[in-house]
């Protein structure tokens, strides 16, 4: 078992009073050091659930099966001490919309310093302060901003503070859940450049979650597309973006307008139909109700994720058919 992150047959089900919500259903994924895996997918398709389960941060109402290995050791069965060590130094996560998890009554510099101090209790105040400044500058904020309270920063600035926190202890695996959705294109370009620099120079492995395929296409080696808790397509980034196999992935890449394209003016592209309710999934392919290419066979059997081209798999029986 090599590889930085290996996820096998992972399923996560939330138990709620209104019934079970299967948020992730049998997902296999792998990330090596120095590699970036992109995960795209509809809202509610289970991307964040997947990411938090990797560090066993899922809420207590979640039931998990399958295995998650980081550097060969199984996260789901690991002892508490090991897990803590992993969370501090091995892997870190930038939560989606986590700007609000910053403590509102403490300065952001203090909050960035916290993991540093826990990680190395002997560090002097000077080294910690200078490292905090360095981290802030890495994410494009003046070092003096360390003295600000969260409400004094703009949304994008808070998001960058969260990224700085995740990078504080130089983790080997970074899980970034929508790290740039709150950022403007300029800073997004900057943060993405920062993240890819980390991958290139430090050999960090990264899972990048986004609903914007164009961002993933720029950044990733491979992309996995999720729909209703399943991976429905996985392959090399450029191929998934430009020549997708699964009709859902196709709809995703078509949905972001090109500025200047007259066809997109006052005509935002969407996907018809309702998003799937994870509690009442249709039998067969869960995308079938919204799919323009669906045939009867689609509604009968769940299509397996199969390699359709070298290194490029899709869960759709209609691939290659007219």
């Amino acid at each position: 078992m090599t590889g930085l992150l290996r996820i096998e047959d992972l399923s996560v089900t939330y138990r709620t009073e209104e019934g079970d919500v299967p948020a992730v259903r049998g997902v296999d994924l792998a990330v090596d050091a120095g590699e970036v895996l992109g995960i795209a997918g509809e809202s509610g398709s289970g991307k964040s659930t997947l990411a938090s389960t990797v560090l066993r941060l899922q809420p207590s109402s979640a039931r998990v099966s399958g295995s998650v290995r980081v550097d060969g050791s199984d996260v789901l069965t690991m002892r508490w001490g090991e897990l803590r060590a992993l969370r501090w130094a091995g892997a870190s996560i930038v939560f989606q919309g986590a700007q609000h998890s910053l403590n509102p009554v403490r300065r952001v510099g203090t909050q960035i310093a916290e993991p540093l101090r826990v990680h190395d209790p002997r560090a002097t105040d000077d080294t910690v302060t200078s490292r905090v400044g360095e981290l802030l500058e890495q994410v494009g904020l003046p070092a003096a901003r360390a003295a600000a309270y969260p409400h004094q920063l703009s949304g994008g600035q808070r998001q960058r503070v969260m990224i700085a926190m995740a990078l504080a202890c130089r983790p080997a695996l970074v899980l970034a859940d929508e790290p740039t959705t709150a950022l403007d294109v300029m800073v997004q370009a900057q943060v993405l450049a920062l993240l890819s620099g980390l991958v290139r120079e430090l050999g960090v492995g990264m899972v990048l979650i986004s609903h914007d395929l164009s961002v993933l296409a720029d950044m990733c080696d491979r992309i996995a597309v999720m729909y209703a808790g399943r991976v429905v397509e996985q392959g090399p980034a450029a191929e998934v973006f430009e020549a997708s196999l699964h009709p859902y992935a196709g709809a995703l890449s078509a949905a972001f307008p090109r500025v200047g394209d007259p066809a997109a003016r006052f005509a935002p592209a969407g996907l018809p139909g309702d998003p799937p309710d994870p509690r009442y999934l249709p039998s067969g392919c869960s995308f079938a109700p919204r799919c323009s290419r669906a045939v009867d066979a689609c509604r009968e059997q769940v299509p397996p994720l199969e390699e359709k081209r070298p290194g490029h798999a899709a869960a759709c029986i209609r691939v290659g058919e007219p």
Binding site: R56, N103, P104
Partner: protein
């Protein structure tokens, strides 16, 4: 005209769900459960006092036993200097101790929460004035103030509760204030303002519900302090002279020199009861805090 009834029904159901969930979490907390069991026993004992111990046993004139008899079959915990059964005193004493503790807590929490909430929510001079007031009460030493108040108000059960309540609120106020300050910064408070909510709405629907768990957890800790204070004041002879409480028992015991005569049965039981109740309230308070704090609950 049934607008909202369905909604209310739904909300009620959901609230019941979260209570059930909270209770499940609480049950998993061992020390909290232990505290709750001990407390229940004490409360049952206090409520059932007339059934398990004859109130006549409290009368000095009708005392049947000898002076400071050691425990025996007739007097399981011996007798006091007036020949009364220590067990009877202990059972009846629990009523006064718990009652004063609870009453004082209600007063203290009411003042503390109101002052803390308002001084945190309203910036500017009203907030500053309330904050100064809190600090002022905080630095005054408890005992002298309590003694002065008790002397001025006179020695009665209600007065002793008032004295304790009025002197013990600043801690609660500070806690609530800092929580309020933090909640005031949340985006959902702004959203509610943008929806058109005024101060009353914001306080009642957003700030208060989010400080309530803290108030709740703090209540149990305050009860512990209040019971201890009641013991202290009674021990100093500032309690209600007509009633028996654990504190007044301890005072009696010291006055008749129970330590020098080796009458341990007169000192240990009330002392132990105070310690047990205070400890139990603290344990329950800590358990409640971990159950009610959504941050601790949400993620494992």
């Amino acid at each position: 005209m049934s607008a909202g009834t369905e909604a209310r029904r739904l909300a009620r159901r959901r609230r019941a769900q979260s209570w059930r969930h909270g209770w499940r979490e609480f049950r998993r907390n061992r020390s909290g459960m232990a505290g709750a069991v001990v407390l229940t026993l004490f409360v049952v004992m206090a409520l059932a006092a007339p059934l398990i111990a004859d109130a006549d046993g409290l009368s000095v004139t009708r005392a049947t036993g000898g002076v400071l008899e050691s425990p025996s079959g007739a007097y399981p915990l011996g007798t006091d200097d007036n020949g009364r059964s220590v067990l009877t005193l202990l059972i009846w004493g629990s009523r006064i101790s718990l009652l004063v503790g609870l009453l004082a807590t209600v007063i203290s929490i009411l003042i503390g929460t109101t002052v803390g909430l308002l001084s945190g929510y309203f910036g500017g001079w009203p907030g500053a004035v309330l904050f100064r007031l809190t600090e002022w009460f905080l630095v005054i030493p408890f005992l002298p103030l309590a003694i002065v108040l008790a002397t001025v108000l006179g020695r009665s059960l209600v007065n002793i509760a008032i004295v304790i309540g009025v002197t013990s609120w600043p801690g609660t106020a500070l806690l609530i204030r800092s929580q309020t300050l933090s909640i005031k910064q949340r985006a959902y408070v702004d959203r509610s303002r943008a929806l058109g909510g005024g101060h009353g709405h914001l306080l009642a629907r957003h700030v208060l519900p989010n400080v309530m768990p803290l108030v709740f957890a703090n209540t149990t800790l305050t009860v512990a302090v209040a019971i201890l204070s009641e013991t202290t004041l009674s021990f100093l002879g500032l309690g209600d002279p007509t009633r028996v409480s654990w504190g007044s028992m301890l005072q009696d015991a010291f006055q008749v020199g129970a330590i020098t005569t080796g009458s341990w049965w007169f000192i240990v039981p009330p002392g132990l009861c105070v310690v047990l109740v205070v400890l139990s309230f603290t344990l329950v308070g800590q358990a409640l805090e971990s159950v009610l704090n959504p941050r601790l609950r949400e993620r494992r």
